[in-house]
Symmetry: C2
Subunit: 207 residues, 2 copies
Amino acid sequence: MFRNNLLSSLLQDAVDELSSLPGIGRKSALRFALHLLKQPAENVERFTGTLQRMRTEIKYCSNCNMISDSGLCPICSSPSRDRSLVCVVESIRDVISIDNTGQYNGLYHVLGGIISPMDGTGPSDIAIDHLVSRVAEGSVQEVFLALSTTMEGETTSFYIFKKLNQFDVRISTIARGVGFGDDLEYTDEVTLGRSIQNRQPFVPLNK
Amino acid sequence: MFRNNLLSSLLQDAVDELSSLPGIGRKSALRFALHLLKQPAENVERFTGTLQRMRTEIKYCSNCNMISDSGLCPICSSPSRDRSLVCVVESIRDVISIDNTGQYNGLYHVLGGIISPMDGTGPSDIAIDHLVSRVAEGSVQEVFLALSTTMEGETTSFYIFKKLNQFDVRISTIARGVGFGDDLEYTDEVTLGRSIQNRQPFVPLNK
């Protein structure tokens, strides 16, 4: 696009780096670079310093693998959380999504991936053994599997289910069904079929 | 969105910084931050170092105000460029757009803004005097005004036109008309009216 020696190599290098961000092409990267060029030097210094510090100083919670500033994350160290309930998720982003609903008050367990033979990710590449040892410790009463409803998600859920079967622990998963605002006509048959089997008592939304 | 002490403050600070990029909200910023977290430390160091270096080391061409690694930009120092023709643009991005067409072989003059009373930008805030002195020097034969077709762009073009009127220099502007692929029905009346007045000899596209 503009690899024609037109531009300063300093800018070209910056565009190369910025276009490595997920979903960012060279046009957006150029826009970011020109934006940073217009900022006061101390702002750019703070920008880069903050990113650098995040990468080098961040820690992971020894209990749930969530990112943290210290040894235990704010969720695991909160006294108001239900410590008998553990929600198993693929990534940090899922923790944020679930916690933002305000409907969950237990702890989490971040697997850091999902079993995917296609991508070469096996059970030992993600934090399943860590989860098993958390459950073996005894205080967990329910493991709530909140993985994607994809083939990989279902495989991972099933693998964890088998691994935890030896313990006296309830294993639940997120309810499958037709999403709010979804059109029945365009809902796939498996989802619709399951929502009929698992039909629930009607509760008005604004109750 | 997740300013609820859930997340590491290191990550929150990084999200704050990344969401200052143009067009980037907190969701995308979080995605960028988690992406950077997963990268090897040396990659993040190169990322931040490159941006930092760009901001502190970049120079501006003394002739045309284009960004440059040294005193003169590659365009101004190229022997194959037509030095009698100067294209006046608002920003560095316009230089890239115009040069990418492959239809222009002259030099540029980056104003670094546009006259806009609403934004408080007057003629002295942009590089108009610099342009006048380039023309006064004598070797420029044509000044090609390639500014936006907005009120501000037209005002700036007219201001420059008046300033350069004292010199023996041709002043041209980009052709206005109906864009390729545009539907006549949806073309505004001013554009359509001008394209009729300025109708051109028909030239097949793939000639």
